[in-house]
Structure formats: structure tokens, C-alpha cells
Symmetry: C5
Subunit: 348 residues, 5 copies
């Protein structure tokens, strides 16, 4: 959780993440009902005219390690310094803020590393004004590819709607991606269940613990989305058209679904830990039973054998011919007696 130093003035633009792309990439999509124009911008200044164009513009900025880019953008478009600070301080809790002439949304995207099974989170921020949406990503990635494709394909709804609908479409993409992560965690939980039943070992314990941590990570990203969606849906900002509300309600529904799934997984993982503990106790009990049976049968027999291994001069039993076979008989009876006892106790 690296953060700015306590006491630095608000609006200090310092990137607190540790992801550095080669250079900041700025993509611009201008579109309206008829046209769609995609360009990569060299300098942030090239995005300035967007505000005054009649068409809808989507500026996507990838890479936050150059605060100057944000500062220049903020000055030009009139974003509040705290908003810019929040974009760069990439440990924000997802949230929605309504400013005078723009909406500010912070969300978290989850990346699942197939190799290590770890989940990374990336902060994605949006500023939506009337005909301009600026989105900020920490690292390059194709998460918004499908939305871009829908714009290119000329899907009527997205092409004729404003920044509120584009904001919805991007948020929806983020929320939908949570389900992919949850599905992977679900598969791992199922694998773990099977292995726990068959042979609980140290590795299962480590996996339970890893799953617990990853579910905490997921929850941190997903829980606040619900609140965020409620905020957006209830907002009376004139930037959100009436027809968009039902779509925002949809984001809310999906967020709740994701939360439900995550909570169920957490509960399942918790009961897996209980099951693990019970399995271990069970196994200790089994091990103990084997030891106890062997020891209980042979220790008295060994004692008997030891007794007649003593070298006293006067041990009359030693001289009887029938003494040895008789002792063997006694030993067999003792052993059989214990076996019957163990059978009764259900240990065998």
C-alpha cells in the first residue's frame, strides 16, 4: 500500500503504483450516428479540441507514470485536483463522484495470472462529461476491445448514445470480467474439494489459504461496485439520460450477483478449512488406533515372554514339558481377546 507522504497538499499529482509502460498511450475515438474515427494521439494536447466537437469522443489513456499528462488535461478540461490525485493514487476504493459538469468513477479490474494463480488488480478511472469520456488505465490490455468493436460495427445504441451509455458499457465490461475470475476460483475450489476428501496434505492447506486471500482481493474490488452502481442509478445528474438508468440497474444486478458468488465461495472455503482440520483429526485418530492395537496386543505378550526369560534358579514352570505349549496358548488367547475387544469398539 505505498501512498503519498502524510501532509502533502491535496491534489499533489504523484503516481503511487509501480507499473510503468514505455510511454503513455493516448487513443481517441470520435463517433456519432454516422461516423467513427479512431486515432492514436501523440500528445495529450491533441485531445483538447474534443470538448468542443459536436460528436461523442472517447479518450483512453494507458499509463499513469507521467503526471504531467494528467495535469495538462486537468487544467484544460477543468477537473478538480482531488480527482486527478485519485486517478494517480492507484489504491482507491471504487467509487462514484458527481461533480458539477462531469462524473468521476473509479473501478478496479482484476487480472488472473494463470501461472501463479494470483489475482492482480488494476485501477481504471473514468471522467464523463457531456460529449467526452476520458478513461485511465495503468497497463495496456484489451479489456475494452469488445466495446471499441461495437462502436466500430456501428451498433446503433452505442453510436447514438452519449458518454453516460459509454460509461455504462465500459463498467459493464469490467463487472462481467469479474465472473471469469470467479469461475477460475470456482474451478480451483472444486479441485481442492476432491483432493481434500482423498488425501488432505500440507499443500491443500496452503491452497485454502491462498484462496482465502484471493477472495479478499476480489471482494475489495467487487463490494464497492454495488455502492457505485446505486450511486450512478440514483444520481439526478443531467449527464445521465433517463434511458440509461435501466442499464445502470443492470450493472447493479451483476455486481450483486458477483458479490453473492464471492460470498458463497468464501463460505465454502471456510468450511473446507473446517473439513481439513476434521480430516487431520480423523487421520490422527486412525494412526493412533493402529499404534494402540499393535502395542496393546504385543506389550503384554512381550512381558510374558520376558517373564520366562528370567534366569532365576528356582522357577518350577520352566521344567514342565507342557509349560511352553500352554504359555503359547495363553498368549494366543490374550491376543484373540484383544482383537475381539477392538472389534467391539469398532476400531477394526
Amino acid at each position: 500500500m505505498p501512498r503519498k507522504k502524510p501532509g502533502t497538499p491535496p491534489g499533489s499529482l504523484v503516481y503511487t503504483g509501480d507499473r510503468r509502460t514505455d510511454r503513455v498511450r493516448i487513443d481517441l475515438v470520435d463517433y456519432d450516428k454516422q461516423t467513427c474515427d479512431e486515432r492514436a494521439l501523440d500528445r495529450v494536447e491533441d485531445a483538447y479540441p474534443c470538448r468542443d466537437k459536436p460528436c461523442m469522443s472517447w479518450v483512453n489513456i494507458v499509463g499513469l507514470h507521467e503526471p504531467a499528462v494528467l495535469e495538462s488535461l486537468g487544467n484544460q478540461f477543468g477537473y478538480h485536483p482531488l480527482v486527478l490525485e485519485d486517478i494517480l493514487n492507484t489504491h482507491q476504493r471504487p467509487k462514484f463522484e458527481e461533480h458539477d459538469d462531469y462524473l468521476f468513477v473509479v473501478a478496479r479490474l482484476l487480472h488472473y495470472d494463470d501461472a501463479s494463480g494470483e489475482i492482480e488488480t488494476e485501477q481504471i478511472s473514468f471522467i464523463a462529461s457531456s460529449n467526452l469520456l476520458v478513461s485511465f488505465q495503468e497497463i495496456p490490455g484489451d479489456v475494452f476491445h469488445a466495446v471499441r468493436q461495437r462502436i466500430r460495427d456501428g451498433r446503433p445504441r452505442i453510436r447514438t448514445s452519449g458518454s453516460d451509455y459509454l460509461l455504462y458499457a465500459l463498467l459493464d465490461t469490467i463487472v462481467d470480467s469479474y465472473f471469469l475470475i470467479l469461475e477460475k476460483l470456482g474451478e480451483r475450489i472444486e479441485l481442492l474439494e476432491d483432493s481434500l476428501m482423498d488425501h488432505p496434505d500440507r499443500e491443500s492447506l496452503a491452497e485454502i489459504y491462498r484462496l482465502k486471500r484471493e477472495l479478499i482481493t476480489v471482494r475489495k474490488a467487487v463490494w464497492p461496485i454495488r455502492e457505485l452502481a446505486v450511486g450512478l442509478e440514483r444520481s439526478e445528474s443531467k449527464l445521465i439520460r433517463k434511458t440509461t438508468h435501466i442499464f445502470l440497474r443492470d450493472v447493479y444486478d451483476h455486481a450483486v450477483q458477483a458479490i453473492d458468488a464471492a460470498e458463497n465461495y468464501r463460505e465454502t472455503v471456510s468450511s473446507l478449512l473446517d473439513m481439513y482440520l476434521s480430516s487431520i483429526s480423523n487421520r490422527t485418530n486412525d494412526v493412533m488406533k493402529v499404534l494402540t492395537m499393535i502395542a496393546t496386543i504385543f506389550i503384554p505378550l512381550s512381558f510374558l515372554a520376558g517373564l520366562y526369560g528370567m534366569n532365576f534358579e528356582h522357577m518350577p514352570e520352566l521344567h514342565y514339558a507342557w509349560a511352553y505349549p500352554m504359555l503359547l496358548g495363553v498368549m494366543a488367547s490374550v491376543a484373540i481377546g484383544f482383537v475381539i475387544y477392538f472389534k467391539r469398539k469398532n476400531w477394526l
Copy 2:
């Protein structure tokens, strides 16, 4: 949790379930105070006239694997694309949405597989407009048979009421069916209790875990129903007549009852796990006691026997006539001493 790909546009009609009936079945019931006419429709288009008929119509669609059917219906009756998407995306959380001229309700039906003891859930959706109710099921089943029978039998209340009452009757049927499932789980819990007291084993642990999971499944279906019922009851939609509110309150009461039962079962199952762990600990303790008693008595005796089994030349005791009987006496005393000690410690 298979779902649509992130980034697909809202309203994309893709069935996300894996249940395929041979073909989509469409049943129509037209009824009013006097008449009742049941028909199976060949094509969804045959349902179009329903809207303009003066009587009440109930269209029941079984099988969701042909999105075209829904699309056509949606276009004809003016359902919102997101509503259609929710019907096909069969991992919805139960919910109630009030649209301009129809009500949209999603609920989950629980199926108990007697063989495996597993609980499957099926999504059932309803769209109620003024004189038309369309219901969507994933798989054929006779869950609504009793309601159909009431219509056929000419029960006055259902025959003279509108789609709001029919919606209530169907929801009530779904909620009532939860109790059948809960009853079966209750029986299994009772069986488990008895077996845990008598002989806790690995199978009990697995059963506890299965019950935990199934109660999570039940909860996922039942909890949101309460919210849904509150929403319906408080709705000020003109589609819900005043006389229907008391019935919707009844659905709410039943949902709360089902939730209570499920929560009590969950708590009971949790304490069964604690009891299982305690039983195992208890048994390990018992096993240990047997081992300890046998070992504690015989190990010192064996040592004594070993002592006089040594081959030193100069061991005067070996030559005394009374040495052997005396040693036996000492051994008996040691053994008796330990037995008394164990009695005092309450181990015997």
C-alpha cells in the same frame, strides 16, 4: 457460472444454461369468468393476438435454447432487450422489476435429486402485463400443474382476477415447493444427528459438507425472494390490484418462513460439525487412554523381567528360592497400583 463474454452488448440474446429440450414448447391458456381454453402453440407467432383479446391469457414457454423465440416475442410485445437477456442468462438472482406497462419477475425453482441428494436450480421468469402473463421455464416439469388445474376447475378467484393474481399463484407455488426441499434436508439432518452420536465417521463429515453446500444453494434461491415479495407488495404499479396485496404479503410471509428454516438448518449443521470434531477428539482421547493404561502397566513390568533376564555372573538374587515368587508379588502390586491410579483418574 458460464456467462456471456465481457463486452458483448446489452440485450445480446444468448442462452447461458445447458438445458436443451427437444424443442421449445409453448402452452397457451385463455380464460375468463366463464370460459377456459387450453392450447399448445406451434409457433410463437400464434401467441401474438393474446394481447388484444379481452380475456386473460397465460403463455408458458418451456425451453430457452432458441433465442429467436424470445426475440420475436420481445419485439411484438415491446419487452426491453435487457429483460430478454435476463431471461436467457439463467444465472440471475431472483428479482422484481417494474417497467412501464409490465412487471418482470425472476425466481428460482429448486429440484431435489432423490438419487444423489443434490439440489438443482432452474430459473423461472415471468412478464405480467395487464391481461397477459408470459412465463419462461428452462425444462419441462409439472410445477405449475396445480395452478392450471385451479383454472380448469373454474375456481372463481383465479378465473376472475388478472395477471397480478396469476403471478401471485405461480410465485406461491414456487415458494411452497421450497418447503418440500427443506423437509428433505431436515430429514437428512436428523439422520445425521443420530449417526453422529453413535459412530462419527468419514462419511458423516462428507454428509455435513454436502448439507452445507446444499443449504448455500437453497439460500441463494430463497433469500432474494423476500426482497422480491417486498418489492411486489409495495409496488404502486396499476397492474397490481388492491385485493392482490394481501396475497403478495402471504408470499412474503412464506419466504420469511423458508429463510428462517434454512437459517436454522445452517446453524444446526454448523453445530453438527463442532459435535463431529468434539466426538473425534473424544475418541482419540479414549484410544489414548487404552494405550496409556496398557503401556503404563506393562512397560515397567517388562523392565523388571528384563532385569532378571540379564546374564551377569554375579546376581545374587537369582539364587534365592523366594526371589521368583517375590518378584511376581512385586509385579502384581505394581499392576494393581496402576489400576487404582487409573480408577482414581476416572480413566476406567
Copy 3:
């Protein structure tokens, strides 16, 4: 939880309990400031005139296995079919419903079976109209005896008040009876505490589990009473006089007190389970220590004895006169060494 079949129409009058008295008993008390007239009615029809009499009437019906009685009453007095269904469906959650010209209240009475220590619940329902209160019990019992006596004795408040005050008096009696049950559970918990400290055994575990279950039963009856009391207190029904509100507040206070007590007992029982587990662990540890001490001391000694019990021809030690006493000395030193070690480890 036997219940009506899913899909049966609302208002279907089927008694879902399993308590059958010989016949339904109907008691009528007519009273006003001056007079009090008690009668047992033969037929439910004899109760019909109550409604139009100027005095206050209390009809108490014991036994719900004859739905016809309720049906006839319902038709006569205009009770909603769902209300009648709820009375017969004796697995209701306690609740309060305000109807146009009557109040409907469901509560649960707890019966403590002194022999088995189990708690049974009985559903008791009330319908209060302006000058008539009808109460429904499943089984005969003297729970309302004291209230009847107060009417007979001519206590001014009850004799001059209406059905709202009578409803309060009966509810108050039910809530007060919870404390008797809680007191009995409290005594059992105290007994259990003492026995756990002295000798935790399998029976304690079973008792902990039984207490947990009984507290769940109590909670199921008591929790909803609070909500019910809030509903009654806040109700703006003209059937509830202003002076009665303070008494209803009293019912609420008592319900909260009962809930508090039940919750504290639950917490206490939970910590008893923890204590039980800890005690068992402790005892296993004690058992282990005894075993370990005995084995640790005597196993090495036995080895030494075994060593000199070997039959090698060339074992010079065997021939020295001082070898045997010296070995005994070594053995004693080893034993004493271990005893000191155990003392230091605080095992002795």
C-alpha cells in the same frame, strides 16, 4: 414441517399440525363492567350472536383439526380466507396483520416437557374485532387461566376495556411464560457448567447440543414477537385505544428482555462447547504426559537390561562382580535424570 401441497389455492383450509383433541372445544366469556357470563358452547353457531351483543365477548377455540368450524366462523364474521389458512397452518411465524375491521395476531406458546427436557411449540392465534376476540389453541391447556380469573374477579381495567386490552393481556401471558422456559434452560446450563469443569464426558456434549437446539426453538418463537409488538404499538387501527399503547409497549419490553436472555444463553452455550473442546484437549495432553513419562523412563532401561541379557560368548562385562550393581546404579541415574527433566518441564 409438514405443509399444504404447493399449488393448492390460497385459503385452502387444511390443518397441518398433528394434534387432535377429542373434539373441538369452544368456550365463551361474555363480560362487561357489571356482568360476566362463562359458557361452553356445543356448536360454533352458538357464537354467532356475539358480534351484535353490546358486551365484550371472548371466544376461545381449542383444537384445530376440524376445518369446518373455522370455515363457518370465517364466513359468519367475514375473516379473510388467508387468515383462516394461517390459523390452521400451524407453522406460522408469529406476526401481526391489520385488516379492515379486525386485527390478526399469531403467536407461539412454548411447552417444556420436564421428562425429556424438550420444548414443544403451539401456535396460538387471535382475531380481535371491536367487541369480540376469538382465540385459537391447538391443544387444551391452562395458559389463559389467570386472565380468565381476572375477568371473573371483576378487575376493573380488564372488565371495562375492549378487545385490544384483552389481546394485550393474553399476549402478555404468553410472553411471560417464555421466562419460565428460559429459567429452566438457565438452570440446565448452570448444571452443565459445573459438570463440565469437573468431568467433561460424552453426555455433556449431547446436553450442549440439546441446549443449542432448544435455544433455536425458543428464538424462533420469541424473536418475531418483538416485531409483532412494534407493529401493534405503532398501529393506527381505531381498534386499539390510546390507553392500551403503553401496555403494548410493555409487551415489547418483555419480548426484548426474553430475546436478550435467549441470546446470552446461546453465547454461553457456545462458549461451553469451546470449553468442552479445551477440556478434552487438556485431558488428552494429561494422558499423553503419563504415557510419555512412563515410556521415556522405562524404554531405555529395558534396552539396557536387554543388552546384558544377550548370549554372546565374549561379553567381558558379564564377568565382573561389580558390573551388576553398577548397572543398577546407571539405571537409577537415568530414571532420576528423566524425573528431574519432567519436573523442569512442569509435567509432574
Copy 4:
């Protein structure tokens, strides 16, 4: 929890506690800005004139075992019978009730018995009318001494304020006294922590359990005080002057602080129980290790010794001169091998 019998009429004045002082003591303090007059009253009737005196009067009644005193007072001053019942029924939950011309407050005072470490609770009730406050205690005690002293000393705020401020002062004294109790519990928890780390034993377990119970007792007294304080602060009764609200807010703050402390202690005690269990497990593990090491080293050696103690005629090894020293060598190697193995396993 002894209580009145179910069904007794409301307002039945029966003292349900078990504390009997010799006789009921009644203290009266009349005070205004200039004067302060303290007297012990012989009969409750001597308190009647208070109401009509222009000065502020505080009547403190100690001992509740004579219901007649309360009845007479209630009749004279017009207190509601339920209020009087609540005062005598000393198992009330702390609460605040606003009546027409008086405020009724019930609180609980905690007494810490230094000898047994147990916490007793005493119910203290207040009835505040415009210029009269009557307080009721179960047993004599000097809890209100400091407030009395402040009146005697002529502190201007208390001397010039009304019954609302006096009520605040007394409540504040009660709430402040909670901290003394909490401090004592805190000291015991610290002692327990230290002893748990050093030598967890059966006594620690008993102490954990006692602390749990005492914290439940504290919570029962403290939690409702918060609600009570909120009620008082928000009350719009004309008996509470505007300048008193900030003081009532202070009571609220202190109650929240006490609740926080109690909750933190509860959490700490819970984690102490976990620590206790872990310590015991740890110790069992240590004990097991000792046993296992000794047994693992010496059992195989004993077997070898036993092998050459056999009396077969044809055992060639017995006759070689180097056999004995060689066997000793083998034995030493086995022992050293195991020691190295245990070192590697980190058991030594």
C-alpha cells in the same frame, strides 16, 4: 431470572429481587440556588409536599421490598402502574420512557465483588417530574455520594438546574462507574495473558470462561444505556431544557466508550481462548515428540538386544569374539542416525 407469574395483571406490585434491607430508607434533599436541606424521612407520606414546593426536591428510596411504599407514592404523584411494576421487577432492561408529566428511566449499576471477582447488577430507577426527582435503589450504597456532595457544596450548575440536570448527573455517575469495573476486568485480562504465555493450565481456562460471563453481564447493563441516552437526547419533552442536551450527549459519548471497551475486551478474551487451545495443542505436540524420539531410538535397539538374547542352539554370531563390540557399534550408529534425522526434522 425470577419473575412475576404469567397472567398476573399489569401493575401488580411484586418485588422480584432478593435483596432486603432492614427497612426502606427515604432520603430527601430540597435545594435551590441559595438553600440546601437534607433530611431522612420516616414515612413516605412526608415526601408528598415536595411536589408543590417551589424548590427542587430529590427523593432517594433505598430498598424495594415494601411495595406499599411505591403504591402510596404512585397514587400520590400519579405514576402509571406499569412504571411502578417496572421499578419493582428488577430484571428490567435499561430504558427511557416519556410520560405525560414525568420521565421514567431505568439503569443498572454494576458492583464488583473484589473477593470472588464476580459482578452483581443492581437496578436503579428514576422518575423525573418538573421539580422533583425520585430515585430507587435496591441496596444501600454510596454511589450517589459525590452528586450529593456537589449539591451540598453549592456548585452553581446543579443548584440552579432542574430535575433534568440532576437526572443527567446521576446517570453520568452510573456510566462513569462502569469504567471502574472495566478497568478491573482489563487488569485481570492482562494477568491472564501473561500466565497463558508462560503456563496455560486448567485454571486459565476457568478464568477465560469467567471473564466471558462477566463481560456478558457488563454488556447487558451497558448496551441499552446508549439507546437510553439517544432517547433522552432526542426527547422533545419540555422537562428537558435545551442547555441539558449537551450533557446528555456526553452521557451518550461515555456509554459508547464503555461499549467499545467491553467489545474490545470480549474480542481479546475470545482470542485468548484460541491462544489457549493453540498452546495446549503445542504442548501435546511437544510431549509427543519426546515420546516418539525416545521410543523410536530405543525400540529398534531393544529388538536387536532381544534378538541376541534368544536361546537357539545354532546362532553362529554368538560365538565370534568381535560380534558383541560390532553390535554395540551398529546400535550406536542406529541411535546417531535417528538423532540426525530428528535434528533435520527440527524436533530437537
Copy 5:
């Protein structure tokens, strides 16, 4: 939790902390858009003129052990006695109070002692009137250094804003400092995780427990800050300018973030405890297995050896030449049999 004696009048100025600086230090900063004047005051009286100066004044008082300083200040500036009491009673819960012409804020600063790893808390209070902010610290420290530097540096926002913005800046500094503490705890948790996986020992248990306690301390400081920030943000006091609200919202966001982090840590630490217990159980199981294998293999073999070490005259086996090698063979088979059995049971 040392506190004032119960019953002392409200507004009694007694410092309840135990930190004494040499003398109370009073620092004054007067600033406006153009000028900035810093001075250390000798006497508190020197701060009196601040109120009437046109510029903004910040009086920072370090050291609370001289109540006279506060009393004089309170009288001069008209602070309520309860406010002064709260400042001195340094066990306050962080809170916000709106008084007529000033705002009163209590917060807690956390100090992390690098040596012992313990967290100390210090109460910091603020009283903000229109152009004067007085802050109270218990001990000297440079926590506000950065804010002072911003004033010196002439940062326009802080120099042109009033006491509301200064209050924000100081609160923000305190909240930001929580993250430093949380980061340190986070590092310790990570270290602990690694060591638990490798070698759980008694020290790990102690560290888990210490972390639990420190997280309770953090929570006590951080949780109420959220409430405080909500109170400030929603306050309609004219002392808080409209432009400051967005900054106060920022404090709220940071407080929520800190709470989230603390809660996640708590959950992580809890699961570390579970992991610890599981690891110990696992290890006990491993130890048991070693013991059981060794004992199970050698105890029967020792018995066989003992059998042929008996001294009976008539033991025919002893005289056969092949008896010894055959017995060795039998012994080897038994041993191998057990090894195979253990392999199958997965113990090896």
C-alpha cells in the same frame, strides 16, 4: 483506562493521560494571503488577541498536564466546559461536535514504536472558530510539520482558506499517517505468513496474538474517523465553506480505505491463526506416524525375539539348525509386510 472519578462534576478539568512534557508549548502561526508569522508563545494569554485579528490564526498547544492553560483559554474564547473536559480526558472516542460558534473535533494519532512493534495512540483535539484554529497534542511530535511547511511555502489554497480548510489539512495528515502504520503491520503479516508455512512455533503464536491486539488498537482509532468525516461533510455549519466539502469527502474516502485495509488484515490474521492450528495438528500427525511405524514394526519383532529368549526346558524349536535363519526370515517378512501396509496407507 484511567479516568476521572465517578460523580465528579462535568467540566472538571483533570488530565487523565500520563504524558508529561517539560512544559506546555504553545505555537502560533498567523497567516493570510500575503503574510505568514510564526511564533512560540510564552504564556497562553498571548494567544488571546488572535480572535480579533483579521488574519487566520493557528494555535498549537503541546502538553495537556496543566489544566490551567485550558481553563484560561476556555474562559477567554467561550468554549463549553465539557469540550475542555473532553480534551483533557484523553480516552475519548474520535468525534465531531458542532457548537454554536466553533467546531470541536477529537481524533487519535497512532505512533508505531519500531523497537517493540507496539502501537501507542495520542489524542489530538481541534477547536475551529471562524478565523482561529486551536489544536491540542499530548506529546511533541512533527506530525503537523508538513502542513506548517505548506503555510510557510505560501501554497495559495491553504493561505487563502479559513479554519475549515486548515482543519481538513490537519485531519488529512492524521488519516494519511494511519497508512504508514498499516503498511508496517502488513509487512509483519507477510513475514509471519512465510514463517508459519516453514516452521510454526510458539513465537508465531505470540506474534499472531500481538497483531490481533494492535489491529484492535488501530480499529479503535480509525473506525470513528469515518463517522466523524461524515458528520463534518454533512454539517451545515456556516464555518465550513462549500468548497471545503469536497476535501472533507476526501478524508472520508481515506478513512474508509484505512478501515478496509484494517479489516482485511484482521481477517488475514484470523486465518493465520487457523493455519497455525492446522499446522500444529499436521505436525502432531506426522510425529504420531513416525512413532506408530517404528513401534508397529518392532514391537511384534521384539515379542518374537523375547519368545525364543525364554528359558523353558522343553522348547523343541531351539534345537533345530534352521530355526534361527527361518525366524529371521519370518521377522523380515513381518517388517516388509508392515512397510507395504504403510505405503498403501500413504504414511511413507
